[in-house]
């Protein structure tokens, strides 16, 4: 079930009504109901993988208890390694098996062998990367004695499978979400309205911005040789807006839905396109994954405690792993590596934390220096995302080569019927950036525009937003990019 589907439009009000008006007297009933709703939500995609989700939940729940009750360090380690091994084993099988087999075949093929290795037709369970990381953070936190294990199976299961975050995050921490699951929640009108606003903004990002960009991105990336440099650059820029609109739109809807149900989830995006350097960009983009890798990989590897070289080494490792997390393909790894290269200068010069506040805080416009920094950072991101979109290293280099070689008649393609709507698409993107800029100091863009305004202004804005949504949205319920991860 997709957030942008008719079935979800039916599902959510039913869940909301039953949750607040039928089961509100008992926390236990509310949690059981949410758990069942979450399993139904996931089962709509493929019910067979509910067993995998349930097994993964059971594994981490029971190993968490075993780690906590273990008498010796050796025993604690055993249960930890078992949990990590099985979790990563599942992830490795479903997501990476074919990649390793093919890479191995390619490698030994270089030495003249021609192995007859079969790949498998494996369906990637939606959300496996996300719920596996939920579970891993839980057992690692117990092992590191940051939290006590949950003794309530329903609470823990709901933490792992809470439907707003189940299939594409944000990647939650037990320290943050489990206490919310365990305590009574009361309906808060202001919070619920805020949740609805964030859902509305998320839908604009997904079905107006991302899905409209996708139409042109698909055309351009499917035939890079057929387009001029200018059009290819436009394609890469549009993909950058597509992936941002798609994923941050999903996160906004997830956060909004959770807030409707009385939960606060971790913020996943914080206006990354207004970043002045790459380090700032990564503090604002897919925050829950970046912080997960920082806490569970970068710091255990030594972080920056061992000096400059260790800091650089560990940064490269987390970016490569992060790239690999995104997909079983070399281009994602190169994408990760490229971002590591981008960020190394700021580690060497030790100014990676120079821009902690949002740009132009308290001002309407950025300075020319800030504008230059933002444009430079954005351009680097656009370039790196070509690796992300092209699906293979060969495809990426074909695209980049075409940018530098297909000079000549730059924009004639844009007048063809297939690109008829691209001007309107660009106007929509500019409006979108303007609204994001105005709201950049808030949790999400339209929170600022809406906050403490007279009712007539608020409702006029809602009305215009709904109008834009219904007039320019792409119909057909396209999937979210991050579902494949």
């Amino acid at each position: 079930m997709l957030f942008n589907s008719i079935s979800f439009v039916v599902f959510l009000p039913i869940v909301f009504f039953l949750y607040w008006f039928v089961f509100q007297r008992s926390l236990k009933l509310q949690n059981v109901f949410l758990l069942l709703a979450s399993y139904y939500f996931y089962g709509c995609w493929d019910w067979r993988f509910l067993f995998l989700l349930a097994f993964s939940t059971f594994l981490d729940y029971s190993t968490g208890l075993k780690i906590h009750h273990a008498k010796s360090l050796k025993s604690r380690k055993f249960w930890l390694v078992l949990s990590i091994g099985i979790n990563l084993g599942f992830l490795g099988f479903f997501k990476y098996y074919n990649f390793f087999v093919e890479s191995f075949a390619d490698l030994i093929g270089q030495f003249g062998f021609n192995p007859n290795i079969a790949t498998l037709n494996i369906i990637l369970p939606v959300g496996i990367s996300f719920y596996t990381f939920h579970g891993l953070s839980y057992v690692l936190d117990i092992y590191n004695r940051k939290i006590e294990p949950s003794t309530n199976w329903v609470h823990y299961s709901l933490f792992v499978s809470f439907f707003p975050l189940l299939v594409a995050g944000p990647i939650e921490r037990a320290t943050h979400l489990l206490p919310q699951v365990e305590r009574k929640r009361n309906f808060d009108y202001t919070k619920a309205v805020d949740g609805l606003r964030q859902i509305l903004w998320g839908l604009i990002k997904k079905i107006v911005i991302a899905d409209n960009c996708a139409e042109y991105v698909n055309m351009i990336f499917n035939d890079p040789g057929g387009y001029s440099s200018g059009v290819l650059v436009i394609g890469a820029v549009l993909f950058t807006f597509q992936v941002y609109g798609d994923f941050s739109g999903y996160s906004d809807i997830a956060l909004g839905v959770a807030r409707l149900l009385g939960f606060e989830l971790l913020k996943n995006f914080n206006f990354p396109f207004f970043s002045r350097d790459i380090a700032e960009f990564w503090r604002r983009w897919h925050i829950s994954l970046s912080s997960w890798f920082k806490d569970y990989l970068y710091i255990p590897l030594g972080g920056s405690r061992g000096g400059l070289w260790m800091s650089i080494r560990n940064t490269i490792i987390i970016f490569l792993v992060s790239g690999f997390w995104h997909g079983a393909s070399w281009n994602y790894i190169v994408w990760g590596g490229l971002n590591a290269l981008y960020i190394i200068p700021s580690i060497v010069s030790r100014n990676g934390r120079a821009n902690l506040d949002i740009v132009a805080k308290g001002r309407c416009l950025p300075t020319s220096r800030e504008l230059f920094q933002m444009v430079t950072t954005f351009s680097l991101v656009v370039f790196s995302l070509i690796f992300f979109r092209a699906f293979s290293i060969g495809g990426t280099f074909q695209y980049i080569t075409a940018i530098f070689s297909n000079v000549g008649d730059q924009y004639s393609h844009l007048t063809s019927p297939e690109f008829r709507g691209i001007k309107v698409c660009c106007i929509l993107i500019m409006l979108f950036i303007a609204v994001e800029w105005v709201g950049r100091e808030q949790n999400y863009a339209i929170e600022e525009i809406m906050f403490n305004r007279p009712r007539i202004i608020r409702w006029s804005f809602y009305s215009i937003t709904v109008f834009v949504l219904l007039m320019y949205m792409k119909t057909g319920g396209t999937s979210f990019i991050y579902f494949q991860f």
């Binding site: 309107v424 006029s460 009305s463 709904v466 109008f467 219904l470 007039m471 119909t475």
Partner: protein, 301 residues
């Protein structure tokens, strides 16, 4: 309430005053559609004598059957095809006009791709250009598509505010298509043959199959003879279809069916684009159809 008002005002403003920003979910407004549907329906509404041959179906219908050629055999042909018309809309056209036109023969032009279609394109064409009636509104609501709903809403406002008063469709159109009395659209463009077609395997939507069965049932109930024809398309396009035996087998079940792509192999020069016959192609094809009608003895005059 305010949202509804803003929505309606926005719809009217965008549809009427800022055409360069016309949203994709307000796909057609009158005069923006291709295929001269407005003029065709206007002419159909004024028909006051019986018709010998009624052609219904998608754009290949109104671009592939020239009344002037049929006139040479003393047959009156009227073409009620429209762009991307699917069986759902064909059934509507049949219900609306068959009693008035009283055809002696109906040619059902079939395009397999439209049996796999959702029918939205054709529905917005109808809403924009045909007279609105309860049945058309009912069909529009069944489409479950925001573009169809917006077009319907805009059409209602456009009629109320008089935007459509005195509208005359451009003829010939900007692309050079000429509307000819009898519902035909003449094109003298020549296809360059450069189109690339990916292999395609058609699977038909059950909704369209049910509508097609309804059409056949009604024709049989009214005892109107019918021919099911699949007019030619460029060879490359035709050969890209990988399950033609299924397609031909399907249509054969419902009556006399001819796939002209098999019997009449026309060169690319007979097409105006990658899908439609031009005048030269129509001349050849119509000769073939007239012979077929004569052989089958449908119109013994």
């Amino acid at each position: 309430m305010l949202t509804s008002v803003v929505y309606c005002v926005g719809l009217i403003a965008f549809g009427r005053f800022v055409p360069f920003l016309i949203p994709w979910n307000l796909p057609y407004i009158r005069g923006h559609a291709i295929g001269h549907t407005f003029t065709r329906f206007k002419e159909a509404d004024k028909i006051d004598q019986d018709i010998d041959v009624l052609v219904i179906g998608p754009s290949r219908a109104y671009r592939g059957y020239d009344p002037r050629i049929f006139r040479q055999c003393q047959w009156r042909l009227f073409n009620l095809g429209s762009s991307a018309q699917t069986p759902v809309q064909t059934a509507y056209v049949l219900d609306r006009y068959v009693a008035k036109i009283r055809p002696k023969l109906v040619i059902l032009e079939v395009a397999p791709e439209l049996f796999a279609s959702d029918g939205n394109e054709s529905m917005v064409d109808f809403i924009s250009n045909a007279e609105l009636d309860i049945e058309l509104v009912r069909l529009a609501l069944l489409q479950k598509n925001i573009g169809v709903y917006n077009t319907l809403l805009y059409r209602v406002f456009a009629d109320m505010l008089g935007f459509n008063d005195g509208f005359v469709e451009e003829n010939p159109s900007k692309s050079g298509d000429l509307y000819v009395a009898g519902g035909y659209v003449e094109s003298n463009n020549r296809y360059d043959g450069k189109g690339r077609f990916e292999s395609i395997d058609y699977s038909f939507a059950s909704r369209q199959v049910r509508a097609f069965e309804r059409i056949i049932q009604r024709l049989q109930e009214k005892e109107i003879p019918y021919l099911i024809l699949r007019s030619p398309v460029p060879r490359a396009r035709y050969e890209a279809v990988t399950n033609d035996s299924f397609v031909d087998g399907f249509f054969s079940k419902y009556g006399y069916y001819q796939n002209a792509n098999e019997s009449l192999k026309l060169p690319d020069s007979c097409f105006s684009d990658n899908s439609h016959l031009n005048q030269s192609g129509t001349n050849c094809y119509n000769e073939y159809v007239i012979n077929l009608i004569k052989q089958r003895g449908y119109l013994n005059r």
